[in-house]
Symmetry: C2
DNA sequence: TATAATAATGACTGGTTGGTCATTTGTCAA
DNA sequence: TTGACAAATGACCAACCAGTCATTATTATA
């Protein structure tokens, strides 16, 4: 495991227990069994560390959930159940991170962190919206944004339960219960509160699309990290295509499928899917 | 305005902007126009200050909401709408405090603060439950705890909207929209997740009833603060009755009504109503 | 006006913080 | 064995923190 990974795992534990601000770099280095200097060889600052943690987990989480929603095998109420399941399972598996994210989200004053949080939040909104469109189509035109918010509310309160109480819970039951509630609201609620205009207004604050250049940068970095493999080869080809369109859509789709199931590439797969759709 | 109040208002502003830990006593005293020494004449520590702030606002909030739910004039869906309205109105009016509360709730490591937060949370649960019982009675026996959590979820996500975006919102519409959703869930959801046992388990962690002695202490303090008035006289009589039961229930009820509408006494009224019910 | 009592001050203390950098340690090929 | 390079160290720094207390200013009383 790389030094960076060791530090991140140590820090994760401490942050979850004590919070970000209350955990000193000193503590992290002691807990990792390294010196203070070594820490600053891996990270330029404490802020960069929390940023890396958030990136790592949110990318994984978002590509997981996107994978479920865009899988044509999932549909109807089963999709809804799986959507909740993926979310809660992920929260449970990475509970240390989930705790930090909940605690630190609204709390920080680092501009970059705030906008990062907002960005991920919007990505999750997009995925949720795409799922709702798939499930209910036109019938929820007026109430779809309210539905998103209700789903977020459900997730928030119920994830508290298994994050902050150590009780084994029946995740499956929980997800069926929430799917039923969502279904009820989708089919019968009539009074919308969040209109298109309102939603746009909430969103506007500083949302930047990712440019082709940024995607290429990320791909190049990943290409260097990977061993020779189908995934690496696919990435190289995809990079070339992003730089100068040359491959047919079918080939591109196939290449993305090649890398999608590798956890190290799922984030790039997500980015590319969004990129080619636009 | 007392020095204590000046400090509290200054601190409230700064805490809402920067968070509790990130705001130094120095900053507070500068913002209040007093010296550091003077601060420590009013509060024993920075922790005592945040505690006082939380007490002040939560007591007000809880007695407000309890007042609505226990008013026999309110019933049916109108009660539900008013319940939401009181909540959001209060959040809006005291938005600085609401921000702090949301940010700091899960974040602190002061034991006393955590248990205080949990205690208030449970009081809100109790009030919500009492409202749901009033509205739906036996029909929601299995799903009532889930309903509480859904309502909490609604409140959480929607309060974010007007706390962290500066947009004028139609509170009335919001509350009708949420009342409809709650009604839908109450009448049609069939799959419970939070059972009685589970709910008890979540609650168990350190909940202490308030003893007669503690109530008397609070009353004595308030009696000293008040000018001569009907309220003060009522308080004195009530205190005597708590010490040695002597008055008829009707008289007690009347005396509590006397003090209930005074904002300085509404918290004591709430405590007494709970005390006499048990 | 003199005296006592109270309120307010801000320099100071002991401690912790994130971050730096001259120095030491480890690892190679020659 | 040597020397060149990279990796790792931890003493050190300036900045800031919550909280104290000898001193001064203000007010009330006689």
């Amino acid at each position: 495991m790389s030094k960076k990974q060791i530090i991140m795992e140590s820090a994760l534990e401490l942050f979850a227990k004590q919070g970000f601000e209350a955990t000193s770099v000193q503590q992290i280095t002691e807990h990792s069994g390294i010196s203070k200097g070594a820490f600053y060889l891996s990270f330029k600052s404490k802020d960069e560390l929390i940023m890396a943690l958030i990136d790592q987990f949110m990318m994984q989480f978002i590509s997981d959930i996107d994978h479920i929603v865009n899988d044509p095998n999932n549909s109807g109420e089963e999709l809804l159940v799986k959507f909740f399941y993926t979310t809660f399972y992920s929260f449970q598996k990475h509970s240390d991170f989930a705790k930090i994210f909940i605690k630190e989200q609204a709390h920080t004053f680092n501009e970059e962190l705030i906008s990062k949080g907002r960005h991920f939040d919007q990505l999750i909104d997009d995925i949720t919206l795409s799922m709702l469109d798939q499930l209910y189509g036109e019938t929820i035109q007026h109430t779809k944004y309210d539905l998103i918010y209700c789903i977020k509310g459900f997730m928030h309160v119920y994830s508290h339960l298994f994050l902050f109480f150590n009780v084994p819970l029946d995740l499956d039951l929980l997800c069926r219960s929430l799917a039923e509630k969502t279904e009820l609201l989708a089919k019968h609620s009539t009074i919308p509160f969040i209109t298109d205009e309102l939603y746009e207004m909430f969103r506007k604050t500083g949302h930047e699309e990712m440019t082709a250049g940024q995607i290429i940068e990320i791909m190049e970095q990943k290409i260097e990290e990977l061993e020779d493999s189908i995934e690496k080869e696919s990435l190289v080809l995809l990079k070339q295509d992003v730089q100068e369109l040359s491959l047919s859509p079918a080939i591109v789709k196939g290449l993305i499928t090649n890398i999608r199931n590798n956890p190290h590439c799922s984030w790039i797969a997500f980015l590319l899917l969004n990129y080619y759709e636009v």
